[in-house]
């Protein structure tokens, strides 16, 4: 019997819940999806616990009702400015006299890498393993190979205990629902839009959400960097509200209807009604002004991402370029801006076959990615911690069992 899994994302604009099962062919099948407007989160972080909890619970309940089943366990996404990624490294020498690497040698290197503890009040969310360097060779799994020194790297993502605990509590508060695992949003989004061939050739996945932008960089099939920039679609609306001097709800509409990330020559000649109903208070503004405000923000967003990733964004190593997802990727021209700023071929991401219709909205990338992981894990339980070298996930959460 297939297991029923849930995925929850506590987003800045919406709380989302999905229920999925693994089809006999091994494909992901989403049986129910719900999203509920959430006013308790700003820039990916919970500012109003009760509002958030009620939105999350409503989303889970709606998804369960639609699926006609109770969710056994959920995968939960985590984002926000409190998340920080760092590269950890550890090394060891082979103990055996024949220079053959044993599992214990790898363990020692791994322990050394993970010896670094986060600051007080913070915990690691993920240790994502990078390829192992055995002498001068890059290998997936060195056990059984010959060599003298083993170097192991981890991309370690840490976050604030309080923020993690709060999102955990909110989901757990729904009928004592168990959380199987916590994922940073970027890794979840990356998993669903970038297949393993793209991950091997190198790809940057950028998920532009309402409150924050999450990104993940894959090189050689491994996660080389992840990050959160606290800028999202809400910033664009806020900028438009101030720049055009209109109320935010109108600014949001203007963004969706007339917004573009690039300023084109013809924009100066096009006038846009700001409120749209042409009442007495309405007035027009040149579309150029709208696009200028958006362009400045979007250019800056990608400049920050480029600066954060730094030299890892080498075009030769990121041959598959950039994939944009998240609700913000719907903004016309955002791919052109990303391409100009990052100097990499950029496309709007698509989902694997089987995810269609409303479900295929780019804003669903994170929660779909969670399900993707969850179903992969439960399909191959024996491999989830062992030979699934791509992602050896270790969750250390203070105060959670």
């Amino acid at each position: 019997m297939s297991k029923i899994l849930g995925a929850v994302e506590i987003g800045t604009q919406k709380a989302k819940a999905m229920v999925g099962v693994l089809s006999p062919s091994g494909d992901l099948k989403v049986v129910a999806a719900a999203s509920v407007k959430n006013e308790g989160v700003r820039k990916g972080e919970i500012v109003d616990y009760r509002k958030t909890a009620s939105a999350v619970h409503a989303a889970i309940e709606e998804a369960e009702t639609a699926a006609g089943a109770k969710i056994d366990e959920v995968y939960l996404a985590q984002t926000g400015s409190h998340l920080r990624g760092t590269q950890l490294r550890g090394s060891s020498s082979t103990a055996a006299s024949d220079n053959r690497v044993e599992y214990s040698d790898v363990e020692r290197a791994s322990e050394e890498a993970k010896r670094k503890k986060p600051e007080e009040g913070r915990s690691f969310v993920h240790h994502v393993r990078s390829p192992v360097v055995l002498d001068d060779r890059i290998v997936e799994d060195p056990v059984g190979m010959c060599g003298s020194s083993i170097e192991i790297g981890y991309w370690a993502i840490e976050g604030e205990n309080n923020a993690i605990q709060e999102s955990y509590d909110i989901v757990h508060g729904y009928g004592r629902l168990d959380i199987t695992e916590l994922f940073v949003s970027s890794i979840a989004s990356g998993a669903i839009v970038a297949g393993s061939d793209l991950q091997h050739s190198g790809v940057l996945v950028v998920d532009v959400g309402a409150g924050v932008t999450d990104y993940v960089l894959y090189r050689h099939g491994h996660i080389a960097a992840t990050g959160v920039v606290c800028v999202g679609g809400d910033h664009i609306s806020g900028d438009l509200s101030m720049g055009l001097r209109i109320l935010e709800p109108y600014a949001e509409d203007i963004k969706i209807e007339h917004g573009k990330a690039m300023v084109d020559e013809s924009d100066a000649k096009e006038d846009v009604w700001l409120i749209g109903n042409k009442t007495i208070g309405d007035r027009t503004v040149s579309r150029k002004s709208i696009c200028q405000v958006i362009n400045a923000r979007v250019v800056e967003l990608f400049e920050i991402i480029a600066k954060e990733i730094g030299s890892l964004l080498d075009p030769d190593m990121v041959a598959s370029g950039v994939l944009l997802t998240g609700g913000g990727s719907l903004l016309p021209g955002i791919d052109r801006v990303a391409e100009n700023v990052l100097g990499l071929r950029t496309e709007k991401a698509s989902f694997p076959s089987g995810i269609e219709g409303d479900l295929a909205h780019p804003g669903n990338a994170t929660v779909l990615g969670l399900l993707h992981y969850g179903l992969k894990d439960s399909a191959v339980p024996s491999e989830s911690n062992g030979s699934e070298g791509l992602l050896k996930k270790l969750v250390h959460l203070v105060g959670m069992n």
Partner: protein, 430 residues
């Protein structure tokens, strides 16, 4: 319009029996140059005093009174951007400054907070002014976002100043380019920003010193701004012609000063002043007052003053000054007090008094005042219909998407919640 017409239309004190005393203090380079601007604009109703550590700045200043501070500390050399020197310099001359504050009810502080003198001395002087019992309004230019280090300093100074001043109106340099016209030079932008300060001070002064047709006194102002405030809003609009007052309202709502990240979108206390010519339309005045209250979700504490000035001709000027998050540091509740849709002025400010400048105009105004009451009642009764005219403002107002967090979204010294176009100085035409 020129600033001249605003101030030469009669000294504020001349037609006032008020014994309220006000003074303007320009502190540090930016503050002193704002005081110079006031002097050039012919603003002589209120005594202006220039205070600086830098002797050169003071000697170039045209203000009548000057107080050099920190002479022993720096020998007139300036602070070199050190806030602590600015603070100590005030300590040195504390007695002299106290003497200048003696008996003053209303203090305007003009100080750029990115410098050592402005950043250090302004909060210290605000403290002295509060101790002497004055109501303190501060207008503070803030450095550009790209001046990262100074920006951080200014942020700290602003927080310090807010502890003492009753209302602090930040004037970020980032907004200068939006304030000027399409092809404005840098100089014109700064001049325009200076003129906005003059307008603000003038509006507050006219409220207190001039007899208006809708009159308020200093006690009302003091009561409204008695608490220290966190965020403030400050804006100005003008209109001309047949429908001048509504044009002025529209201009006010487009005022770039009201559309900045640190400006509150709602006001717990709100001061509205309207200055117009003898033909100012009463019904429209009522509507505008109601609309402004609604726009800024002003609750109980609205101070509304209207003045007729023959020199205004067919022009109308509206100035608003509001404050929220009273008792700085305490975040206001999620929901600002809902605005009362009924069009009335503040209950405290209902008494109409004619201006007695010339007999003819007095007569005219008395008639107007008599008609006013009836009209107001009528207007109040049919308020829902009239409101349709200003329908566009009735939608849910907000404090801004990120306005309620208080935490800066810093990346590399810049606050990412501040619109990029503002920080990068990209002029947006509206």
């Amino acid at each position: 319009m020129s600033q001249q017409t605003m101030f030469t239309s009669g000294s504020f004190q001349s037609d006032s029996s008020s014994s309220v005393r006000a003074k303007v203090f320009g502190i540090g380079g930016a503050g002193v140059s704002l005081v110079d601007g006031l002097c050039l604009d012919g603003f002589d109703a209120v005594r202006s005093i220039a205070i600086d550590v830098d002797a050169d700045v003071l000697s170039d200043c045209i203000a009548a009174e000057k107080i050099p501070i920190g002479r022993r500390l720096t020998r007139g050399m300036g602070t070199g951007g050190e806030i602590s020197i600015g603070r100590k310099a005030v300590d040195e001359e504390r007695d002299l400054i106290r003497k200048n504050l003696d008996g003053v009810d209303l203090v305007f502080l003009l100080a750029g907070l990115g410098g050592g003198t402005g950043g250090g001395a302004a909060p210290a002087i605000a403290k002295l002014a509060r101790e002497s019992g004055a109501l303190v309004f501060a207008f503070t230019p803030l450095p550009f976002s790209w001046e990262k280090q100074r920006h951080q300093m200014a942020d700290d100074a602003l927080a310090e100043l807010r502890k003492f001043a009753n209302a602090v109106i930040p004037l970020p340099n980032d907004s200068l380019i939006q304030i000027g016209g399409a092809d404005a030079t840098a100089l014109e932008c700064f001049a325009q920003a200076g003129m906005n300060v003059s307008r603000g001070i003038s509006a507050i002064c006219s409220l207190v010193f001039r007899k208006g047709m809708i009159d308020v006194d200093f006690a009302h102002l003091r009561k409204a701004f008695n608490l220290r405030s966190g965020r403030t809003l400050f804006g100005f609009g003008e209109g001309k012609g047949a429908d001048a007052i509504r044009h002025a309202l529209r201009d006010l709502l487009l005022c770039p000063m009201l559309h900045l990240p640190d400006v509150s979108r709602a006001a717990d206390v709100l001061l509205i002043t309207v200055n117009g010519g003898p033909d100012m339309n009463m019904t429209a005045l009522q509507q505008v007052a109601g609309s402004i209250r609604e726009e800024f979700r002003a609750g109980e504490h609205v101070v509304f003053g209207a003045h007729v000035d023959e020199n205004m001709g067919d022009r109308v000027e509206i100035c608003v000054l509001g404050a929220t998050d009273l008792e700085a540091g305490i975040p206001a509740a999620d929901v600002a007090p809902a605005a009362d849709p009924v069009l009335t002025t503040s209950p405290k400010a209902k008494k109409a008094k004619p201006v007695s400048r010339s007999h003819a105009s007095k007569l005219k105004r008395e008639t107007a005042a008599a008609k006013k009451k009836a009209k107001r009642e009528k207007a109040a009764a049919k308020a829902p219909d009239d409101q349709e005219f200003f329908d566009f403002m009735q939608t849910e107002n907000q404090r801004g998407i990120f306005g309620d967090q208080g935490k800066r979204n810093l990346y590399d010294g810049e606050d990412l919640d501040v619109p990029t176009y503002l920080r990068k100085g990209i002029k947006i035409d509206v």
